[in-house]
Symmetry: C2
């Protein structure tokens, strides 16, 4: 049992780690940086790197003090990392990946093969420079470096796209699907690497046997369990206390699957990742339920987990400038060139292709978790781990600004310039998403001469891939069409509010039907971003919702400030 002293120290540790991680995370965000940067820095401050150098005695009293506290913190961070991978899995939308399989496969395959090959070749050639452990297997080591350089980080990429108001654009969807494929393949390769380290995990089972077990388990999770989730989750959402029912079920399943993969020798996180993919699939788990699961994890467990990393390692002592530079350059060049070529081959313009490449280059939390596990398995040393962490943070930090630079426009399209009296419907009568889009398609037929049924079909196809509700009562169903020559926007207002499966669960009162030419990517991105800009201003919403004629509506949206939301 824990003694009183243990408990007092344990709680104090959590308080310090969480408090400082959240504080520095918030500061990072203030400067437009991902919060994980601040969270990791909190651990560096409280760990041996800073606090341990300034006041070594005092630091040792607090972190880690006794064996019991170390074990307890270890248990807590295990739960944290398991939940982080669950959330990463939930972000993966298999049907959406499947619907974009051609382009997504091209981008992610090139974006993995290139950095993987570079990483494998260089690590094989210079395994000493990369710090292979004495007696380590060179093939396994090179495989790991290849994987570490080629992995992506879906959650942080999604966050970047969201901040830039690009998540709902076609380009955003392609990046999301490619990153998802990337993550899945990366984690499968990593689990194989771990199973190859059979000496370390101590099962004495032949790696081939473990790989067969894992393959069977993956197949089972993504077929039977996924099928079951798709039936059980909607039932739970309707019939049990919200959100306790869904949360309890998903969390319990996560623990079971994690326990199985840990027992199989491929680490608990892999099982959690599979549950996430199976549960987060398609529309079965509502956006609202996903949000509740993610809240639990990202607000408390993630800061705590990332802060504890700094406690384990002295970042100053293990900093090797050459190694950091090598890892950073190899990872970025391979990933950016690979993905950009893939995007270019999928009919994106050169500038858009580079934007996609830089978007995919963000490594974020996934790289850090991968590195930490490799460190724990004795696969890599502290020096390489520090280099991987810095590479993960660096690639994440340049990702957003680089994307913004590549897709910037001199004279951006504005929503207000595209609106017309005839394209404003003050009182939609539809009560469902389909009916509302149908009404707007009718109005679009009058404007464009294209059959309403055809417009509806295209928009509805797109809507099914990934819902277009922006939250706060706004939705922007859209499509790129060959028949359209210049962008068309039809606005519809509904007083009752229609369910668009929005992440905030708020019924939609304003629907913008956005039709853009097939080849003109820029227009869609800009109009979507402009709509998001206008309605990110909370004061505008009630005014625009209350407007019952075109004139008042136009006045309302013109009141939005032009500065972008940050």
């Amino acid at each position: 049992m824990l003694t009183t002293h243990d408990i007092a120290i344990f709680l104090l540790e959590i308080g310090l780690l969480l408090g400082l991680a959240r504080f520095l995370g918030e500061i990072a965000r203030r400067y437009g940086q991902p919060m994980v940067v601040g969270e990791i820095f909190a651990g560096i401050v409280l760990g041996p790197t800073v606090f341990g150098t300034v006041a070594p005695e005092f630091q040792r009293t607090l972190f880690p003090s006794s064996d019991a506290v170390i074990i307890t913190m270890d248990g807590l961070t295990t739960v944290a990392v398991v939940l982080l991978l669950l959330v990463a899995g939930i972000e993966i939308n298999l049907p959406s990946v499947w619907r974009q399989r051609k382009t997504a496969f091209l981008v992610s395959a090139l974006g993995m093969v290139l950095p993987f090959s570079i990483g494998y070749a260089v690590a094989w050639q210079f395994s000493g420079f990369f710090g292979i452990e004495p007696g380590g297997d060179k093939v396994v080591f090179a495989l790991f470096i290849g994987t570490a350089l080629s992995i992506s980080a879906l959650p942080v990429i999604a966050k970047t796209l969201m901040d830039m108001n690009l998540l709902k654009s076609d380009m955003g969807m392609l990046v999301m699907a490619s990153a998802a494929l990337n993550d899945i393949i990366g984690w499968i390769i990593f689990s194989i690497i771990i199973s190859l380290l059979s000496g370390v995990n101590g099962h004495g089972r032949h790696p081939a046997v473990t790989i067969v077990y894992v393959a069977v388990f993956v197949g089972f999770m993504l077929s039977v369990v996924r099928w079951l989730f798709n039936r059980v989750l909607p039932w739970l959402e309707r019939r049990t206390v919200w959100p306790a029912g869904v949360l309890g079920f998903v969390f319990a399943c996560t623990m079971f699957a994690s326990s199985v993969t840990e027992w199989l020798g491929v680490h608990a996180v892999f099982g959690a990742f599979l549950v996430g993919i199976a549960a987060g699939d398609g529309h079965y788990l509502s956006e609202r339920a996903k949000d509740a699961i993610e809240q639990f994890t990202t607000n408390i467990f993630a800061p705590l987990f990332f802060a504890t990393i700094g406690l384990r390692i002295d970042f100053a002592a293990h900093f090797d400038g050459m190694l950091v530079l090598a890892v950073f350059v190899l990872a970025s060049i391979g990933k950016i060139i690979g993905c950009s070529i893939g995007a270019y081959w999928s009919d994106y313009s050169p500038r858009e292709s580079f934007a996609i490449g830089f978007g995919m280059n963000a490594r974020g939390a996934m790289e850090i978790i991968l590195g930490l596990l490799a460190l724990e398995f004795g696969l890599i040393g502290e020096r390489l781990f520090v280099a991987l962490v810095i590479m993960a943070i660096g690639t994440t930090m340049i990702s957003g600004p680089a994307m913004a630079w590549f897709i910037r426009e001199k004279k951006p399209l504005r929503l207000a310039s595209l609106l017309k009296t005839t394209g404003y419907l003050a009182n939609l009568t539809g009560e469902t998403r389909e009916e509302v889009i149908g009404e707007l398609a009718q109005a679009a037929e009058v404007e464009t001469g294209i059959e309403a049924e055809h417009i509806f079909k295209e928009v509805w196809e797109r809507e099914k891939v990934f819902g277009t509700a922006l939250g706060g009562g706004i939705a922007v169903p859209h499509a790129r069409m060959i028949e359209i020559t210049s962008p068309i926007v039809i606005v519809g207002r509904t007083v009752i509010g229609v369910d668009f499966d929005a992440i905030d669960g708020v019924p939609v009162n304003l629907v913008f039907l956005l039709l853009t030419p097939k080849r003109d990517q820029g227009a869609q991105l800009q109009i979507l971003a402009d709509i998001a800009r206008i309605f990110s201003c909370i004061d505008i919403r009630p005014l625009a919702f209350a407007a019952d004629n075109y004139r008042t509506f136009l006045d309302a949206i013109r009141r939005a400030p032009f500065a972008m939301r940050t």
Copy 2:
């Protein structure tokens, strides 16, 4: 460090406990019982009582297996119970208690003194029967029994009132305020008892010194820290990522305060409870933020914590029928009679007084936590602990049905029968809570002849004590007035939606101003319950919101089924 085997077992344990606790909790709810009943039962099933009897070998492999897993689970449940007390503290609204100080003090004082005296006297006289530990201090033991019998359980009482649609009534508010006072005093006495056990906590500090330290800490938390929270929290809500900012800050503060009280020797939970009171105070922490904090705790940590209780103790082996009966009868008689007398002296009718007495009698989770801590401190034995758990569950289970029985009506008042065309305002123009209530008060002046300003003042006083938004876009500001002879309802509709600080954050579209005679408690309870009944039916809301005249509105609310929400 935890081994692979430890981690696999640890995750499996969490999965089993959480899964079964949620499942049985859900079943308990289906039969109208508090979920904690099912959650505790999950532990009894998985622990020595059932699983350990059926398959002892297998049970020992899973629970608890190794020392490392025991320590880790201990750490996790410590965090869980700390968060549970944080939530219990947040439910306490000090200003609301202060505004009702006279009646609340009367009810809670009588409701504590009576069971406490009975408990103390009987435990002193029959300490052997109650199972005092050999060499235990009789005074401390009797003090504990007195406290255990007189403690209340605010969260479960709040839940019961909410289920009966009584939370927003005056009677509900009195019960809440009394239970809050009860909880505060009970936990302070308990912390003093723990500090008296200085031999156990091993500080060797004189109990009086500990009590002084604790008193200073309580004073500091409820003055300086409370003042700070009231300034910092609204700032955090506006300026940081929601809900991460508020959650991280409150959780980190909780950990610090818990660490301090643990170090002082009065257990970590006491610090968490104080942070809850300081943070949850008044309107500074929005209902939405409270909800986010509570979600974290009640959906995952609470089921896990209550399930682990059954793992520690064999409920069958330590079941003592006589002791269970004695504890149950003494606790209930003392509490019900004490509270009922207090309520009767505060001008409630005999039947309403008994309803209040039974409401206050629910012990729920608080009793179980108190008992568990006493068991861990070696103050009580397993037999008494089992009796306390059964008493807690029993009193909670009879609380709701007994209240319903005492306040039942043969021919309940219905909202529809009180509405008039002249009391329906289709288009309120106010944009704030004050303005809207002002408009309704104007209309009420026309109906009643009482000055609008006076009505507004009474209603606003009430609104400030505890907001009257029911969630889902409905609010029912109300007052009991001497000048009124029969109930009056004025309905106002606002298209834009007004912020009433609702727990779900949804702006209010329909406002019911409810004025009832001062002495007629029943009418207010019934009309409030009827409004809650009608709008608990989700289909009614959009119809009633869209109605722009009296006729359509009446048709809409008449479509609600008459069965009560369960």
